[in-house]
């Protein structure tokens, strides 16, 4: 076996350029497979990460028809005591012009309650988040994120500074870490953000009233119980009309994302697999040429005692070695390409690395191709009658 392996390597090395051309099909096929699948899983990996960093332990509820029975801060307060439900944070959103001394800019203002911090998993860098007292007293305080601080104020150590939102003065009481991974950041939507008490937003924006149309719910124990509890409450309130509201969890989004990517992976993998098979046909072609060229050698080997099995093994091994060598080069080049891509798109906060399970699949597939497409030529060689082979071409 070791001898046959050495012989296979030797005969491949004996014709390097041809071996390279033969392997090219496999190299390209392997690169297509490994790079495409790695790219897809790298890209979806970062998107999925951002989705789950939004908190998969959070339900998003939106009301489209309140049936004359609107939900208020008071209602949410009561619902938080229901079994299965953790915290509830209302959310209303408006766009405002923010000013600080000479600078001004557009900012997305969220009106909410203290629960928001925990429900949405925000992390505070400086100061404090909103307090219940702020909501009760319509206090003009704001918690802003790092981007807002640097773009508007110029520095992040800005607790106590006063900014104006649509002309109303707000005191900055807290600084939030920029959520690089958040869905809004991924989709590139305004990352200049300020959070103010819900009641303050009601005064700031005419579009926001005490009727809450959107809120987030966290679970007390598990998501399913919370979802059932919230749905039950809403059904009760809105005359059993499930078109009046929608309750969605991040899980659903993740599931959808997951099925999209798995379809994409299978599709791209399939296309790459086809190119590998084309490469395999190239191997078969050249192996047939090799067998014909070496008819005499086969005759000699048979005359001095090589049985069918030995010849079969020799040529099969040669085709497998050819495939595996091509596969190795392909994997190496894929690694190089992925590294380059990673560096080029590093600003997108996506990381592309060699997916080892894809590499394993590629290696296995190449091995299979080496055997399948080597079998016919090797068998042709093994079946040659020794005298015919010996007298071939002289």
């Amino acid at each position: 076996m070791i001898q046959s392996f050495k012989m296979a390597v030797k005969s491949i090395a004996g014709n390097k350029f041809r071996a390279f051309l033969t392997m090219l099909g496999i190299i390209i096929g392997v690169m297509a497979l490994v790079i495409l699948v790695s790219l897809v899983s790298g890209a979806t990996g970062s998107v999925t990460d951002s989705i789950s960093s939004l908190g998969s332990d959070m339900l998003t509820v939106s009301i489209s028809d309140d049936k004359g029975n609107p939900i208020t801060l008071q209602t949410l307060e009561e619902w938080m005591d229901e079994a299965g439900i953790g915290l509830i944070a209302p959310s209303a959103e408006t766009s405002a012009t923010a000013r600080y001394e000479g600078t001004s800019g557009s900012v997305t203002v969220y009106g909410t309650t203290p629960a928001y911090e925990s429900v949405n998993g925000l992390s505070l860098l400086l100061g404090r988040f909103l307090k219940f007292a702020d909501v009760d007293n319509h206090t003009n305080v704001a918690v802003i994120n790092e981007t807002a601080a640097t773009e508007l104020i110029g520095y992040t150590d800005c607790i106590g500074e006063e900014i104006s939102l649509n002309g109303v003065k707000f005191t900055v009481v807290g600084l939030l870490e920029d959520d690089e991974e958040s869905l809004t950041a991924v989709f590139g939507r305004g990352s200049v953000v300020a959070y103010i008490p819900y009641t303050s937003l009601m005064r700031l924006s005419s579009n926001v009233s005490s009727q809450i149309t959107s809120f987030y719910v966290s679970a007390e124990t598990d998501m399913d119980t919370a979802k059932n509890a919230v749905t039950e409450l809403l059904m009760e309130r809105f005359d059993q009309d499930d078109d009046a509201f929608s309750v969605s969890s991040q899980d659903a989004l993740e599931d959808a994302m997951g099925s999209v990517t798995s379809v994409l992976t299978i599709l791209l993998g399939g296309i790459a697999g086809i190119s590998l098979i084309v490469g395999g046909i190239g191997i078969m072609n050249i192996m047939l040429v090799t067998v014909t060229e070496r008819t005499r050698e086969i005759g000699i080997r048979k005359a001095i005692g090589a049985g069918r099995g030995v010849i079969l093994q020799q040529f099969l091994l040669e085709s497998v070695v050819l495939c595996m060598f091509g596969c190795m080069i392909g994997v190496f080049l894929s690694w190089v390409v992925l590294r380059v891509v990673s560096v080029v798109v590093s600003s997108l906060s996506m990381s592309f690395s060699l997916e080892w399970n894809v590499v394993l699949i590629a290696v296995g597939f190449c091995f299979l191709i080496g055997i399948v497409f080597g079998l016919y030529p090797a068998n042709k060689a093994a079946k040659m009658a020794p005298i015919d082979a010996l007298h071939y071409g002289g």
Binding site: Q3, R301, R308, A385, P386, I387
Partner: protein, 223 residues
């Protein structure tokens, strides 16, 4: 050790049958040096193929070491060729990619002889044909006579019961022919059975027994 009884081999060219061998009988004892001589087309090569187990007869019986050959499968024939027969061909038939050493080693690899023993036996065989110094050369770097000596080394390395030469000197000049024949004589003296197939009278005459072949029929000529 070689016993051909009424062996025939028929080739069909179109609708006509050509008897390459026609009820040939031949008996060769162990330790003999026999040459088989005949013009081209006389059935020499066919006889050599059958004796060398490269081909099987259409009718008749061939016993090699008292064992009938007909019933063997292709792989069993390969094993017999490997163990009992050493071939020396007119065109040397060395594998060009392999060095002299590796060519000689090949039959032992097929016999699954261990590496250390292989090395020793290869060295010994090359020593016997006086080519130890050229062990690592490729066939293309050797002269015709040297290549044929490598081929002889390859034939004897398995210690076969029969050394079969198919026009072994056909491609060599007269001086090299003498050299190669000298090696065959040495091998004969050491107790090997040697069968040479040739059309060269001078070469044939050096054997202890000459068998003529013509139109597929064998006839003995007294020594």
């Amino acid at each position: 050790m070689i016993d051909l009884k009424n062996v025939s081999r028929i080739y069909r060219i179109g609708s006509t049958k050509v008897y390459a061998l026609n009820k040939a009988n031949l008996h060769i004892d162990e330790g003999e040096f026999v040459s088989i001589i005949g013009p081209s087309g006389s059935g020499k090569s066919t006889l050599m193929n059958i004796v060398g187990c490269l081909d099987t007869a259409d009718s008749g019986e061939y016993l090699l070491d008292d064992v009938p050959i007909e019933d063997y499968t292709e792989n069993e024939l390969a094993r017999i060729r490997n163990q009992k027969i050493g071939f020396v061909f007119q065109s040397f038939n060395l594998i060009n990619k392999l060095t002299a050493e590796e060519n000689v080693e090949l039959p032992l690899i097929y016999q699954r002889v261990g590496k250390a023993e292989r090395k020793a036996r290869v060295a010994e065989a090359l020593e016997r044909v006086d080519l130890s110094k050229r062990a690592r050369h490729l066939p293309s770097e050797l002269s015709g006579g040297q290549q044929q000596r490598v081929a002889i080394a390859r034939a004897i390395v398995t210690r076969p019961s029969l050394i079969l030469g198919d026009e072994p000197t056909g491609n060599l000049d007269s001086r090299t022919t003498e050299e190669i024949m000298g090696i065959f004589h040495d091998l004969h003296r050491q107790g090997n059975t040697i069968v040479l197939i040739t059309h060269d009278q001078e070469v044939a005459a050096q054997a202890s027994r000459i068998v003529h072949i013509r139109d597929g029929k064998l006839s003995e000529v007294g020594v």
